[in-house]
Symmetry: D2
Subunit: 148 residues, 4 copies
């Protein structure tokens, strides 16, 4: 598992979305449970594909399954504070995509966590690697180009 990219700021991400937190997100230590970070990363990535590219996840022939994920926890977070999640395309392959992710407490500059995520597209039926759906590729390519 490669190192997640160096401390990124909000401006480094291709997309930034707001996420609310839940009472049940806080664990016995009174802070956001570590698994919740992955729920938020997942939601930010898929929400981008669904909302920006009008992709109907369940109607595609290819399914993006998670091959690898990782997170470095830099600062504690806790409900009820709302968060922002940043998504950045790190690598766009033929059948897989690597994303860098950032989690930020609302109105706080330094990232609270940095993540890394690899989606591999597989055929819905035979589960063998399949090309990234065209609509997904178009969306992510244009995001990379828009970085200027």
């Amino acid at each position: 598992m490669a190192e997640p990219a160096e401390p990124l700021t909000r401006g480094d991400f291709d997309r930034l979305v707001t996420a609310t937190t839940r009472w049940s997100d806080n664990d016995m230590y009174g802070h956001l449970n570590n698994a919740v970070y992955y729920e938020l990363f997942d939601s930010a990535i898929n929400g981008w594909l669904i909302e920006a590219a009008g992709i109907e996840v369940l109607a595609l022939d290819q399914v993006g399954v998670v091959a690898e994920s990782g997170c470095r926890y830099l600062r504690e977070l806790s409900y009820p504070r709302p968060l922002e999640v940043g998504v950045r395309v790190e690598r766009l392959g033929r059948t897989s995509i690597t994303y860098a992710l950032g989690l930020f407490a609302m109105d706080e500059e330094p990232p609270a966590a940095l993540g890394r995520w690899v989606h591999v597209y597989v055929d819905r039926r035979d589960r063998r690697p399949a090309p990234i759906p065209a609509a997904v590729r178009r969306l992510l390519e244009s995001a990379v180009e828009a970085r200027g």
Copy 2:
């Protein structure tokens, strides 16, 4: 368990908050899992107490534990659509509070779900019923009065 109040509209609630949904909230049927509704109700109630009354949940001598909860599911919801959660004080006792709850898809009028929730306050140590904390009582009484 008493019937939740009759179909309520957003205006009937004392407080209305926005909640984002997550990829993992949708279950195999592609809609919000039924337990998630309770996570959202819980978060709306506690978020109100924490944010509006500045209550530090873990610093109080009394703990509000759930004695009873219930939900009627009226319309399917699903990620990535954001939601609104309404909270209404139904009954303010000496040691317990009953809330009515409503879950609404953003920009949609009829409630998707109606809930009912009973918090009983207990002493943090001996777990015996204890009076509702003063700050909580003040907040909820003023909400009821503000209904006009």
Copy 3:
């Protein structure tokens, strides 16, 4: 929402399954979050249908959606203690099933929670009420008969 059945013992349930708990199930109060009870009820009901009747939930034309759920919390539970979940058929209609549920700490007699659950079967496509699938009905009828 009708009252869940009176304090039931393990012997009153048609099926009893073991469930392990998770670190993330405990909330800030150090006890099982109230929404987790519903996850466990749901899993016990569907696990019964899947395992005992060989039902492939996603292959059926009818989908059992939750119309109503409720829980009375009687005793606190917490990770890492394993639990037992009891399921009992309360009412078998034409298109809906009402279950009573019980949650027990392993090796402890009195129930920690009692639940109530209404599944309504709907057509997977048009979402209109549909008859309970034959395999589900057969399983539950034989469970009721086996009570003797």
Copy 4:
């Protein structure tokens, strides 16, 4: 983030525990959501410390917070199948512990996922790095020695 150890078999782990799955663990694709793997890893690690060393997590002066986690997903899993989770001490430092983790479908040899987990102990109050609690160190050292 370093690579998780090479495909491990059940015998490579210092501890192996059973975990039941839940209806809500399966996401829209009908398989275990990727964040659930972390809930299970977390539960297996903490469950070991709590049950084998009699550690009362909330009573210690030091808190083990997650500094880093990662997972490689090798095979799809899904509810209702029960799982086994393996925990192995990879590195025992002065203030931090690195664990390797494995997730196995019950009765299936190859691991379905391999994980990596870094706990850093901090003082409960000032949140600065603190020595691993003595009871935790003893437990893990004896596990490493017992490998023979």
